[in-house]
């Protein structure tokens, strides 16, 4: 047994207790310098050469960033960079979305903490949470980017909005963390509901939104009903089906009656577009990818061949070719009266592309589930459906989460390709800004640095989180 690993480890949060870990050596500064920088001749030589070089580069970099750079193109067009030509009268929707999604993140965090605490209590181990300072250090990239961004704004609005979002997130997190672990499912259903609401507060509560709203609500309701003891299994099945159907019916009715308009996809631009495209593409690609992965592992040769052909075809071509295809003639494939908007076409291309990669990831996860687990499940009389639901999927998805986060990061970086097909994402807005009369002839490097920093901050934070997750889950070690 590895002394560094506790008995029961929560899926998403800190380890419960480090049992008998060897003490970490903390050297005094002089010894540290000697040991780590000048331990032998080669190391010393390298240090002597590198130190002044690094100091010089850092000096030049900081000089550029804070003294010589002219940030006015960024400063004056900050709204344009963030949300493009979004109707300024409807900006409250974006603000509301930010706050709601921040609350959803806080709720998710709280749910993870509550679940971890519950499992710790079940195992009889104490539970201790990371102090706030450690969390701040963890997210230093995103927070400093946020700080830089706030420095550039010209009014107090963004500052208030950021503060409100952070406050909402923290409040929900602390509330959720206090909820007993039995109700974890309800918390996650709440996260789902907040996620959908946050999306639709911008796009409007109409169309097919009732499906997306109904799903998490149905999950919560079914989980609540499941705590009751039902006289027979068939009765439970009937009740469950009725509950699901009822929830969806109510959602449909509500949406049909209320039906508020929102701002359509065509007006989503800027950095907001990069984030939304990545999120929507991976949400839509996940079921498709799951389907493809299952088909690829199927024993039916027809399904296997077709899905393999699709996956290999899509993985073999660069994304830019799919985007070019979507911009020029994907509309010709569908015989619609309504031509698809530019963003819809691009998201279709992203979804098709991501689905192939998700399929490979999920296939790897499914393959990693030990055969013995399935056989063990069957040996206690579980149906194949139950084996899948209770044993295979949790194991497979746990193994797959870091890779999925990595795919999301890659997808987020790939949204920069939208600028090549003239869709107004962050990189394209840079072009728009430099067409304006005031900035036609300067600020080119500064805007590029700003775009780089924006992408870097988000990707770096997500990749750090994924690395922590991988360490916590012990992928490849157990």
């Amino acid at each position: 047994m590895d002394p560094k690993r506790p008995i029961i480890e929560p899926a998403l949060d800190e380890p419960l207790l480090v049992v008998d870990a060897p003490p970490v050596e903390k050297l005094p500064p002089r010894l540290w310098i000697r040991r780590r920088l000048f331990s032998n001749f080669y190391n010393s030589a390298i240090t002597v050469v590198l130190l002044p070089l690094i100091a010089y580069l850092a000096y030049r970099g900081l000089l550029f960033l804070f003294v010589t750079a002219r940030w006015s193109p960024v400063r004056e067009n900050l709204t344009l960079f963030m949300v493009g030509r979004y109707p300024r009268a409807e900006l409250w929707r974006i603000v509301a979305q930010l706050i709601i999604w921040s609350s959803a993140l806080g709720l998710a965090w709280g749910a993870a903490v509550s679940g971890a605490r519950f499992r710790a209590a079940q195992a009889g181990l104490p539970y201790r949470e990371d102090p706030l300072l450690a969390k701040v250090r963890r997210y230093w990239a995103l927070l400093s980017m946020l700080g830089l961004f706030l420095l550039m704004t010209q009014s107090y609005g963004p500052l208030l909005v950021t503060a409100a979002a952070l406050a909402a997130g923290s409040l929900l997190k602390s509330l959720a963390a206090r909820v007993p672990g039995r109700h974890n499912v309800l918390l996650w259903a709440g996260v789902g509901v907040l996620g959908v609401v946050g999306y639709q507060i911008v796009s409007g509560f109409h169309g097919n939104g009732w499906l997306w709203m109904g799903a998490p609500v149905a999950l919560g309701v079914v989980s609540l009903l499941g705590r009751v003891e039902w006289p027979s299994q068939s009765r439970w099945r009937v009740v469950r089906l009725g509950a699901v159907v009822g929830v969806f019916a109510i959602a449909y009715a509500v949406y049909a009656l209320v039906g508020t308009p929102g701002v359509g996809w065509d007006d989503w631009e800027g950095f907001h577009l990069n984030l939304i495209t990545a999120t929507v593409a991976i949400v839509l690609a996940f079921p498709l990818g799951l389907l493809l992965a299952l088909a690829r592992r199927s024993s039916l040769p027809a399904l296997r061949v077709m899905s393999t052909a699709y996956i290999e075809l899509i993985r073999g071509v660069p994304l830019i070719t799919l985007l070019l295809m979507s911009q020029t003639f994907i509309g010709f494939f569908l015989d619609t009266d309504t031509p698809l908007s530019s963003l819809t076409r691009s998201i279709a291309a992203f979804t098709l592309f991501t689905a192939a990669y998700v399929a490979e990831i999920v296939r790897g996860g499914l393959q990693s589930v030990d055969r013995g687990q399935i056989e063990a499940g069957q040996s206690v009389g579980l149906s194949s459906f139950a084996v899948t639901r209770l044993i295979v999927l949790p194991l497979a998805l746990r193994a797959v989460i870091p890779a999925m986060v990595g795919q999301f990061i890659a997808l987020f970086k790939d949204t920069s390709l939208l600028s090549i097909v003239s869709v107004a994402d962050l990189l394209f807005v840079r072009r728009v800004v430099h067409a304006q009369e005031a900035f036609r002839a300067f600020g080119i490097a500064e805007t590029l640095v700003f775009v780089m920093l924006a992408f870097w901050a988000v990707s770096f934070t997500m990749s750090r989180e994924s690395q922590r997750l991988e360490r916590r889950l012990g992928i490849g070690e157990r």
């Binding site: 020029t328 819809t344 899948t388």
Partner: protein
């Protein structure tokens, strides 16, 4: 691993649902005939524009579109719908500008597109009028001393990709036997620093664009620029509509031409209210009274256009003149002014 049909069905339906959940604000637009009725039913005009072209289609900090072509979108909206603000701007790039018009995503394309035979024929477009007579020009640093195209042998020539600029450059230089090396970029924000750093010695584009950037570079303290007198090609820019819809084409055409007619008649946005249908000048009387049935436009369309947007001179002066291209004496001047301009419109009678 076992899987039941139920899972498959469930997942399949999730996928289909996900595909159906998308653009919720679908408007009803289609190609072919009947665009006029469709636009009137919808109540807004969908106009394909540029968002990165100085003078023609730009986006300001507040997210509003401004520019010469943008104003003509407003002109068409005012003429057809009576409201210059009822426009939905659709920014288009080089790849999809024509397919957007063909597929019905936009009703009219006002994206500084050049009128060529290939586009009329192969791309299924109909150009209705030339709002701006431009030409492809060549810009070099003033201290380079180049005066003719022959001086540019073997030079690096910066240009934007996917435009008639590239084609014209190749055909003209090859015809005159001048070897050259094209350096193409996707947008001017990357081209300009390359040009200023000397990575290319020549910048070729529409003369209006060159004028805009010449002004920008010189005002920022850069080196002085010189736009050569030689014009590589003619670039007549104007609005385009889909083939096969002559009613719509005529409506757009006369709305746009109304601005030039008003200029000819001396009507602008400040004095349009003072003219009535009983004016002494019969041309003005017809124009303001609007007796031209069969065009599919309302009787007062001309008044709406001029009062809400302005006449050609006002539009030009607001957007193109600041680029350093004065209207008087240019190719876009009125033919009747006798200054060598070619802006000539049929009479409104």
């Amino acid at each position: 691993m076992k899987l039941t049909k139920r899972w498959l069905v469930l997942l399949l339906s999730l996928v289909l649902v996900g595909a159906a959940c998308g653009d919720d604000d679908d408007d009803d637009a289609g190609g072919g005939s009947g665009t006029l009725e469709e636009v009137r039913d919808r109540g807004t005009l969908r106009c394909g524009v540029n968002s990165v072209l100085p003078g023609f289609g730009l986006v300001d900090e507040a997210g509003n579109y401004t520019g010469f072509d943008v104003d003509f979108c407003k002109v068409v909206a005012a003429g057809v719908l009576g409201d210059a603000g009822a426009v939905e701007y659709v920014p288009l790039g080089v790849e999809d500008r024509f397919t957007a018009l063909q597929s019905g995503e936009v009703d009219v394309l006002l994206r500084n597109s050049t009128w060529t035979a290939t586009r009329d024929g192969q791309e299924g477009l109909t150009f209705v009028f030339t709002t701006f007579y431009d030409g492809q020009g060549v810009m070099v640093p003033a201290d380079s001393g180049f005066t003719t195209l022959e001086d540019l042998a073997d030079a690096n020539v910066c240009t934007l990709t996917g435009t008639t600029t590239e084609l014209n450059l190749t055909s003209v230089f090859n015809a005159r036997g001048i070897p050259f090396n094209p350096v193409t970029f996707t947008d001017s924000a990357e081209l300009r620093p390359a040009y200023e750093a000397g990575q290319c010695e020549v910048w070729t584009s529409d003369r209006s664009q060159l004028a805009a950037f010449k002004l920008a570079i010189e005002s920022e303290g850069g080196a002085e620029q010189h736009i050569m007198d030689e014009t590589i090609s003619k670039e007549p820019l104007g609005p385009a509509v889909r083939d096969g819809d002559s009613a719509w084409a005529q409506a757009v055409q006369w709305s746009v031409m109304a601005t030039v007619i008003a200029w000819e008649l001396g009507i602008d946005s400040s004095n349009v209210g003072s003219f009535t249908a009983d004016d002494a000048n019969p041309a003005i009387a017809r124009f303001v009274g609007g007796a031209a049935p069969g065009l599919g436009l309302d009787a007062d369309f001309a008044v709406q256009i001029i009062s809400q947007v302005g006449n050609y001179e006002e539009i030009y002066t607001e957007h193109i003149a600041p680029l350093g291209l004065p209207l008087e004496g240019s190719t876009n001047d009125l033919w009747t002014n006798g200054n060598g301009g070619v802006m000539y419109v049929p009479p409104y009678s």
